[in-house]
Amino acid sequence: MFESAKIVTILGLVLSLIPFSVASEQKKALRFGSVAMDIPAVMHKRLTPLTTYLSKELNREVVLDLSPNMKDAIKKVSSGEVDFAYLTPVAYIRSHEAGNTQLIAKTVTQNKGSFQLMIVVREDSDIKNPSDLFGRSFAFGDKAALLQRAAVLGAGVPLEKLANMTFSGITTIL
């Protein structure tokens, strides 16, 4: 009888703390992470208006927590170090694999919610289709842009079949 009363008391205490802990979490500043696509100062400038907007809309402080690279950004959102993050498509799927992250929204570019990657050649090139790329040289953007390499492989061109490749480092990371 005494034991049952003790259990009921403890349970009551635990239950009474739940609303308090939920409320205190909601009052904490939200941490907004991002994969680095620019130098930190530029990235900060790009994300500050959005951070200010979200603070007003949610009536809650939102602070930026920028990552120096994609690996760090994935780790922070999948482990819960940041509450939400601006991610590349590949960074999202990696964070979902690692920590079951949940999507909030996708970006829309020029009124379109999707995009394509395109393999291009000079207008006068003898390359007519992807199979003609075997033994030819290829220019990629940033080395971190895994999706670009995946797209070339998806076009039926194993990367080792290219004569050589370069990474300009200037293309948007995808």
């Binding site: 799927i93 291009v120 000079r122 995808l174």
Partner: protein, 106 residues
């Protein structure tokens, strides 16, 4: 893209918007991927549902035709026009494409 135009490299890869722009300047498209889902906003698994709902509402409300919202959206990218709802399944096409690559290839 200049490396291809200048004959330093035989081919290159670009996002559609840039490819169409360069198409009028001596570039030809030989392959296009399927439609791919873009950059996104994702939250940690345990973020409470009320905050998740508030975040979704705030992002989906952003409208580039609203003069107050336009600078918020375009500070992130001058080509962005807003945000849309999205599902995990929408990213299956990216999962399929990147399957041959390991996590360390990121």
């Amino acid at each position: 893209m200049r490396a291809v135009l200048n004959k330093e490299y035989d081919a290159g890869i670009l996002k559609d918007t840039k490819a169409y722009k360069w198409e009028k300047r001596g570039i030809r498209i030989v392959y296009s991927t399927p439609q791919l889902p873009p950059y996104n906003i994702a939250a940690r698994k345990m973020l409470d549902s009320e905050t998740v709902t508030q975040l979704k509402k705030a992002f989906l409300k952003l409208d580039s035709s609203n003069p107050k919202h336009k600078p918020v959206i375009q500070a992130l990218s001058s080509k962005y026009s807003g945000f849309q709802a999205v599902t995990n399944k929408d990213y299956d096409v990216v999962r399929k494409l990147t399957l041959p690559f390991t996590k360390s290839d990121n």
